[in-house]
Symmetry: C2
Subunit: 208 residues, 2 copies
Amino acid sequence: MRTKTPEQAEKILAAARRLFGSQRYHEVRMEDVAAEAEVGKGTLYRYFHDKEELYVALLARCSEEFLKRMEEVVAGDGSTRERLEAVVEAIIEHFDGQPNLLNLILRAEVMAEGGGEFPWQEARDRTPRLMVELFRDAETRQEFAVRDPELMALVLLGGIRAVIRFGEQPRTPGLAARIVENFLTGADTRSTTPVVGRKSTSAHSVRF
Amino acid sequence: MRTKTPEQAEKILAAARRLFGSQRYHEVRMEDVAAEAEVGKGTLYRYFHDKEELYVALLARCSEEFLKRMEEVVAGDGSTRERLEAVVEAIIEHFDGQPNLLNLILRAEVMAEGGGEFPWQEARDRTPRLMVELFRDAETRQEFAVRDPELMALVLLGGIRAVIRFGEQPRTPGLAARIVENFLTGADTRSTTPVVGRKSTSAHSVRF
């Protein structure tokens, strides 16, 4: 009766995901999680000492899932550009599919201010590195060469975050491809048109 | 004795800025704010009913200051590209100059989840619009033309946020100019080299 099983931990985490995903943090009560998971309150507390611990465990799980998905996409088939588009698309889809995930991360970040654990840290550290690895692959395969790879990995990921958080809903088709196109070739329409002397701002060299 | 004066409100906000800027939210006590502002506790509470109200007022002030600075830079001299670089630089400098500001915003965002006021909202809404106006200026003046202006304003601002939050410190000189250069002409080094057929991934058309 008193042993812990992985199955029961899974049931509890799944219940926590449903509740934290649909309610505000302070609205979620441990007894609701127990009821949702169909376990006794005593059982729940054997697995997680308090709501914060449960919350941290849930977000650690979310972080693992996110990284697993990213690594699968990065390891996928296709040109590096196709894989970069697939990564951007997967990030957007992942957060769109769990609309409360960004809020969970925000709250965990604020809670961690007091010195606590920030369970999204691994995802935060590894995602830019995955991007930089993709950029390196592109160079090795002579597909494209990103200037300032570390800086631009951050810029691209921050841009994607802003789109997820504040961008138009529903998403327009081809959104990820447009982001990557603008990222690689420039948001300035002139930059995709090979015009000699296009750095000039003279009206004569610019097409409108 | 019981009247409120703008001067006293300023003193209190300045004290709150120093304390919230250097301590974690839960560490800041109203009596410390009163002492720092050199007013009595009763006086402090006449201006702000509780710590949250004071916090919201402080962040509303920060939001006004930020927008005022942005509008000044946007209205400045120079080409649109120079003004865009100046805006990017001003955003980075503004947040670097108040290292706790992003945390203040994060916390306010989480606090507002419960339905409260989010005093950074105006800055959040207006900054992308200022960017889009800059992009329009650039078109009018035939300097550059941004594809997907609303989308790319978000992407650029999100990218800047990520650089502020996670980028290398101390900042490298010319950071804002590099961000704008990569934004307009593309992170791919090939995209600044006008090569006919540069969309080809054939090794022959790529310079390494």
